[in-house]
Assembly symmetry: C2
Homo-oligomer: 418 residues x 2
């Protein structure tokens, strides 16, 4: 008998029919002999609707009151889901974040979990109850209602799984799992059976819609075994854990890409100490996220830097650089947008020489020039022109032996149902 | 500087404009130099909408989960009202029932208040905050979310006023106060300036829409001074308190009537001990509320009883009586519906002989026959045919000197705004 946390997102419970399907799924899992704790998000558009209501009355409301408002969304979900489980013959008890024992700091809107006191959950489990917990929400030590911010419900599920020492944390979503690349781009994308935490973090852009990076970090830190699976099919899904088995002959786990990338170069920078800190400190202070940073070799006391930002941040970033010209003397800047970052990710890469070379070769065979390169132990990223992106992804997918014969259907959930 | 509880019902905050008007009203009251605690209900149709949603999933949901669901309604109200107060330049902090320290038994859906621990409210008041508390909701000693049942938000306001020793509990509604009778029937109805708790309870049918009897009982028990006033005008409203001043020359405070009354008579009942207990015990067990009970004199060991029930309960009541015929032998039953109960209420009645006679006289002058009479120290009720009800109410209103020269406008709130 396992102890399992099942997490359902807002779209999985967005209509009465979906709520009923989820309730049935939960009861089935219990009938297989497991003890079940469910974490659920606010239904469908509830959170957005509440935000819209608040904006009419106060465009810039206090974060504390926003938390008071938004936490009603999950409270509605847990009550309705518990009622539905009862209607289908199960026994369920719902708990808000504070009732479930989630204690955070008082940083409203993005509180950090400090402690989880799951006594009530264990008590309910001992009475054969299905425990239904509101995602995203908690309480500060002072009894204030708080929320965990982005990816909140995933984090709730993982943190709760760690606190109650669950055997498995199942993240139910509207896709079958994590794919080797975006199936909308590569029809023969392969569902990944197992993936390590680090690989999952690198593939965040592939999995972001179904698994928030913060939750993956939390899982890694607490060694919680995750599985991402569909709430519409009974397929096995993708397991995310510390040691993930590689299929034979495969060294790359997945291929991710990030559109709307811009490159900015600062050329002829005086090589004085603190230059990098000045530039990137100023960018950070202005809320600009910098991704890849490349410094080419220094010659006669001058250096060239290049870095990437989101295309929408490009103009602002250049303004920031100009504003620090006194502290960072340079000759000129240049910039370019309409780029993409394409990355291959795989934990086995470090022990397989030639993985990067295969990537460069495949890209160059398409006549595409590589503008920047960045590597980590489990990743190689190239920045290239956006235009032949699909061709490049397909070529890499084939080059690394990831193609499967099965075609993935990407449509509404109905299309994928079995 | 007074400590004032201001209670607003769901219709007072049902739209963004109304929410803003309420927020402005609250800030004004604070600026007059008072410390302010606000109690607010769920907005407009929120509660009904939540109930509708739940019925789709479970027509008979567990009461605990229903409380979990419905309490989100007031939580949304308190958050949005606090945000609106901030937007208008005030300082407000919202508290759910459990945060405000309301402790009840665990009788979900109709919990009774056991304790109120208002430490957080006092702390916020000391920081010049306007405190906004969710009506209708509380927490059991076990940390379960509970609701107070019918009239819940009025009860929250009154109980909180008692617990924090407020100088005044203001119930804001969409009418100017309690009237001497229904202004839709008598255009020259008089707004009552002061009324005693007992009179208010007897006039429940006049005030039910604006003041729940349970809250009046709570106010009487704790000697909380109430005022019922409009959230749309600045008129003074009606004070409800222990000792209410009577205007000179007036002995009747108000005239209430209850439509849809049915009379049932049991004739020729064997006069054995326990007969009344058998009949009315059986009716109560079947959920039938009996109002007036009249027993006419016993002759040769047989008695006649008459009582009134709601017209919709008449047929069921007769079935119940037939079902206990073995225990309560009787000759026959008779019944009649299409009746009304009309009541005059006034604390001074007991010391003014002839008050009842004036009533009988006024009714008989209209050629209306009186079918039943019931009296208490502060009330005389007559059951009559429904038909000339308006004429009877107007005649009594005039006979007891209640007519005012001002006409009351009964339209939308806009009509009454000053």
């Amino acid at each position: 008998m396992s102890l399992i946390v099942m997490k359902f997102g807002g779209s999985s419970v967005g209509t009465p029919e979906r709520m009923q399907r989820v309730a049935k799924r939960i009861i089935e899992r219990q009938q297989e002999g497991h003890r079940i704790v469910v974490v659920v998000s606010a239904m469908g558009d509830t959170t957005d609707d509440l935000i819209d209501q608040s904006k009419l009355l106060n465009p810039n409301p206090p974060a504390r009151e926003m938390d008071m408002l938004l936490t009603t969304g999950e409270q509605i979900s847990i009550a309705l889901l518990s009622m539905t489980i009862h209607q289908l013959g199960g026994k369920a008890t719902s708990y808000t974040g504070w009732q479930a024992g989630f204690i955070t700091d008082d940083n409203h809107g993005k509180a950090r979990i400090q402690d989880i006191r799951p006594e009530r959950i264990f008590k309910a489990l001992a009475q054969d109850q299905i425990v239904v917990v509101a995602g995203f929400q908690a309480m500060s030590a002072d009894g204030e209602i708080t929320t965990l911010g982005r990816g909140g419900s995933d984090t709730t599920a993982v943190a709760l799984a760690a606190a109650i020492k669950a055997d498995l944390c199942e993240i139910y979503t509207d896709v079958d799992g994590i794919y080797s690349t975006d199936p909308r781009v590569v029809k023969c994308a392969r569902k990944i059976n197992e993936i390590s935490y680090d690989e999952m973090l690198e593939l965040a852009h592939l999995g972001a819609a179904v698994l928030h990076p913060r939750a993956v970090e939390y899982a890694k830190h607490n060694n919680v075994c995750l599985v991402v699976r569909s709430s519409f099919t009974y397929n096995e899904g993708t397991f995310v854990k510390e040691e993930a088995v590689m299929e034979q002959g495969v060294v790359v786990r997945g291929i991710a890409f990030d559109k709307n990338v811009a490159r900015i170069s600062i050329l002829g920078v005086e090589d004085v100490p603190g230059v990098l800190a000045n530039v990137f400190g100023a960018l950070a202070q202005n809320g600009i996220d910098v991704d890849i940073i490349v410094q080419s070799g220094v010659s006669v006391g001058k250096a060239d830097f290049s870095f990437t930002v989101s295309a929408s941040d490009k103009d602002k970033a250049i303004q920031v650089i100009e504003s620090v010209r006194d502290a960072v003397p340079y000759r000129e800047t240049s910039s370019e947008d309409g780029l993409v970052k394409i990355s291959i990710v795989g934990a086995g890469m470090v022990s397989n020489p030639g993985v990067a070379a295969t990537m460069f070769q495949a890209i160059s065979e398409l006549g595409v020039s590589i503008k920047m390169v960045s590597t980590s132990e489990i990743k190689v990223s190239c920045v290239i022109a956006a235009e032949p992106l699909q061709d490049v992804v397909r070529a890499l997918h084939t080059a690394y032996g990831l193609d499967t014969e099965e075609q993935v259907f990407v449509g509404g959930p109905q299309d994928r149902r079995e």
